[in-house]
């Protein structure tokens, strides 16, 4: 049975699975809204540094240190994540048209961007810890790590999901009539991207 015939049988004309992923995404928006508001409430309540955008005095050495946020690397990661949303749209187009080369190529590009982003986050986290910012250190650390950490976890799940799609495509198990599965993964990926579009300015840009 084709997706087309299936879709006609529903009250909205949309496939139930697509509706489900949108519903789930709506719920997840509240999850991140709560984490973001936790960050906004807490980022200024640190008793000691490191701080995000202000210099701070290390109580151990007495030295004044720079604010801990470093824009360049994160901006590159952000750009790649944004582009990856474009790439996954192109991959989906390839899947819907039965163009296996297009599907595999753009999906690979998406995955590379996603993995780079996760790698960038891991690097940033390690770097921050090295500089003295941990979950336990202060309120900025606690709320920063938990917000970006959960976002990173969501990206990782997205990478695993897309990698599974890639594997299926490789094994020729992603024909046009099954492209909805990729569409659902792509929607989730876009969501993860949109959340980052909010987090990036809130955490990194706005002082």
């Amino acid at each position: 049975m084709s997706d087309h015939a299936h879709a006609l049988e529903t009250s909205t004309g949309l496939d139930s699975r697509k509706l489900a992923i949108w519903t789930f995404i709506g719920s997840e928006c509240m999850f991140f809204a709560t984490l973001i508001s936790n960050y906004l409430v807490n980022k200024g309540r640190s008793l000691v540094g490191p701080f995000a955008h202000e210099p701070w005095t290390d109580p151990a050495t007495g030295k004044v240190l720079e604010p801990i946020i470093e824009i360049p690397l994160v901006t590159v990661g952000t750009a790649l994540l944004l582009f990856s949303s474009l790439f996954v749209v192109l991959a989906l187009y390839g899947a819907q048209k039965g163009n296996r080369k297009m599907l595999l190529g753009w999906l690979a590009a998406t995955l590379l961007c996603g993995m780079f982003f996760v790698g960038m986050q891991v690097y940033e986290f390690t770097h921050f810890v090295h500089k003295g910012l941990t979950l336990q250190r202060n309120m900025f650390g606690a709320s920063f790590f938990i917000l970006t950490g959960f976002h990173g976890t969501h990206v990782t799940i997205g990478v695993i999901w897309l990698a599974t799609m890639f594997y299926l495509a490789l094994r020729r198990k992603l024909p046009p009539e099954r492209s909805l599965n990729l569409e659902m993964a792509a929607l989730y990926w876009h969501f993860v991207d949109v959340v980052w579009i909010v987090i990036f300015p809130v955490v990194y840009l706005i002082r």
């Binding site: 049975m1 299936h6 006609l8 049988e9 529903t10 009250s11 909205t12 949309l14 139930s16 509706l19 489900a20 519903t23 789930f24 709506g26 719920s27 997840e28 509240m30 999850f31 709560t34 984490l35 936790n38 409430v41 807490n42 309540r45 640190s46 008793l47 979950l135 336990q136 202060n138 309120m139 606690a142 709320s143 938990i146």
Partner: protein
């Protein structure tokens, strides 16, 4: 139609038949069976919560009593609240969501039958996990809303709070999965011709409930995660010494908590909106107003949360805002009560058992709603908050409201679910005992609360004068308990009867009464076509009288989803993940790795299950 290999792997519905045996229940994906699983499990937990309440009442019957020591008492009142809300009222509502929504909208099943089964198993495991804490003598003991910083590792060093935290997270997964499922089902699987504004009111109220679940549960999930990090990883979200603020917990909790109380009452609202018209023999008064008031309540429900926090000293601006929004939300609630009464007015009231409970609901909910309005002004609430006056209010809306409504639904839909009619005389005895017992227990609480008795106190000194009213309340609670014994007797007695209830015992208005009692596995032979509200009344009108009893059919050519055990495996995976998180100090990350592996194992097999047919809404001929 051509028989492909895929088709041959789907046994026709007739061959599925109605299987018996434990394995058929473990692997079921049938919404009706899952509904019965929810209902029986929830009823068991409800009785457990009731037992906890009776123990509390025995302890409070005398001043300076030592029937129960303070530590046990604090676990009892915490578990009573947590159980009644998360393991009682919510899954009892789920029983009706599951069994009735597809029938009410003319569908074969829900949108995602395996996800449905998954929700149930996660709920069961979550409830067992939460109660397993008793076995360790460490049941949660910080109240059902677990205020920080009492819940911090410093002031609650034992595992009690962790049981509560992980338990609620597990249950949250169940609720969210179910909410996605029912949201999509209601939006996408209605019978041809059933527009949103022709849906039965129970479906509307359930729909709004799912939206509330989807938006509110993530908030408490985050709050619980933050608490978990404080307790396990040394963060200070709610620890003042590290820069955190216990008040933040209260905000996050109540942003969830207030919508949660609407989650608890809206399904009952929906049930009453089904029962009253049938037993008044006229349509629901003001359908559109009922829909819009429900939507308005849900929307506004996200804007009143700090009325639980008037005593925290937020300042006059915040106090004013939340006080006014709380008063505002009383308006759509009042509208509903008047519309229900408008349904009864000029009707021909048939006082069968469901109608008793429905009218009882209205009477009790009015009281609960009015005491709620009395809390709305902060100057008054400063005296009322955290006293038995509040306990009275919420029991009037949750028991007098939700439970009366759910019981009404029980008596109403029993014949459809089980093919037998519950005994009328025992039903009425149940009602009177419940009404009298309930009021005797909770009405005096208004007085003892305003006269100085705070809540969550394991005892009180004689000189404060609370003893007499407490004794009356205890007597009432045992009468209330007795009423449920009568209900149990009714259930057991009825189960011994032959299964010969008619399809339409009450002269119903909606689609579930067009099919046999209980329905065959596929519900409808053909998708019904709907032209308006109250479709069955319309059909009967066109027919010039009652319809003939629908025959049992073979179900030939009807495809149904195969049973599956992967939802159960995945549910075990989810539960083990939270157990592993709780056991991090002892098991280290290895536990989490194993749990995640099990979860992935379950999910991947579920997604790639061979021989599982994607569920399709039948269009014509049903295949």
């Amino acid at each position: 139609m051509a028989t492909t290999a895929l088709d041959q792997r789907h046994a026709p519905a007739a061959a599925h038949g109605e299987k018996t045996g434990l394995w058929s229940w473990i692997t079921t994906v049938d919404h009706k069976r899952i509904g019965i699983l929810y209902g029986s499990t929830a009823f068991f937990f409800f009785l457990l919560g009731g037992l906890e309440a009776l123990l509390i009442r025995v302890q409070l019957a005398r001043a300076d009593n030592n029937f129960i020591d303070p530590d046990t008492y604090n676990q009892l009142f915490t578990m009573h609240g947590t159980t009644m809300i998360f393991l009682g009222i919510m899954p009892l509502s789920s029983m009706f969501f599951n069994f009735m929504i597809p029938l009410l909208i003319g569908a074969r099943d829900v949108a995602f039958p395996r996800l449905n089964a998954f929700s149930y198993w996660v709920f069961l495991l979550g409830g067992l996990f939460l109660n397993a804490s008793f076995l360790f003598g460490a049941a949660p003991d910080t109240g059902w809303y677990g205020y920080a910083n009492l819940t911090s590792r410093q002031f609650s060093p034992g595992p009690n709070v962790d049981f509560w935290n992980m338990g609620l997270q597990i249950l949250g997964v169940a609720s969210l999965a179910a909410a996605v499922n029912f949201f999509v089902t209601i939006v996408n699987m209605r019978a041809p011709g059933m527009t949103m504004m022709r849906m039965p009111m129970f479906v509307w109220m359930s729909f709004i409930t799912q939206v509330l679940l989807l938006l509110a549960f993530p908030v408490i999930a985050v709050a619980l995660i933050l608490l978990m990090f404080d307790r396990f990883f040394g963060t200070h979200y709610f620890v003042p010494a590290g820069g955190g603020d216990p008040l933040l917990w209260q905000h996050f909790f109540w942003i969830f908590g207030h919508p949660e109380v609407y989650i608890l009452i809206l399904p009952a609202f929906g049930i009453i909106s089904e029962v009253l018209p049938v037993f008044s023999r006229k349509p629901l008064f003001g359908y559109a107003a009922m829909v819009f008031s429900g939507v308005f309540i849900a929307f506004l429900g996200f804007g009143v949360w700090s009325h639980h926090m008037f005593t925290t000293g937020m300042g006059p601006i915040a106090d004013t805002f939340f006080s006014l929004s709380t008063m505002l939300i009383a308006i759509p609630t009042g509208v509903k009560i008047f519309n229900w009464m408008g349904t009864m007015w000029y009707g021909s009231l048939q006082f069968r058992t469901p109608m008793y409970f429905a009218v009882g609901f209205i009477a009790m909910f009015i009281i609960g709603g009015l005491s709620g309005v009395m809390h709305a002004p902060p100057p008054a609430d400063l005296q009322q908050n955290d006293t038995y006056f509040i306990v009275a209010h919420f029991h009037y809306v949750m028991f007098g409201g939700s439970i009366f409504g759910l019981v009404a639904g029980g008596y109403y839909w029993w014949p459809k679910m089980f093919g037998r009619m519950l005994d009328e005389r025992l039903g009425k005895l149940h009602f009177w005992l419940m009404l009298i017992g309930f009021n005797l227990t909770f009405f005096p609480m208004h007085f003892v609360g305003l006269n100085g008795m705070p809540r969550r106190t394991y005892t009180y000194p004689k000189e404060l004068g609370f003893e007499m009213l407490n004794q009356i309340e205890t007597v009432g609670s045992f009468i209330l308990g007795l009423s449920f014994l009568v209900f149990l007797i009714n259930i057991i007695k009825t189960s011994r009867l032959p299964r010969n209830a008619p399809a339409d015992p009450w002269n119903g208005a909606t689609l579930e009464w067009t099919i046999p009692s209980p329905p065959q596995e596929w519900n409808f032979d053909k998708a019904p076509s709907v032209q308006g509200r109250d479709p069955l009344w319309e059909l009967k009108r066109l027919n010039g009288g009652p319809l003939p009893e629908p025959p049992l059919t073979s179900g030939a050519g009807i495809h149904l989803p195969n049973p599956s055990y992967w939802p159960l495996i995945s549910a075990i995976g989810v539960t083990s993940l939270f157990v592993a998180i709780m056991m991090l100090p002892k098991w280290g990350p290895a536990g989490i790795v194993v749990a995640v592996a099990l979860l992935f194992f379950g999910i991947y097999n579920w997604l790639f299950e061979k021989g599982y047919s994607e569920f399709r809404t039948p269009s014509h001929g049903g295949h």
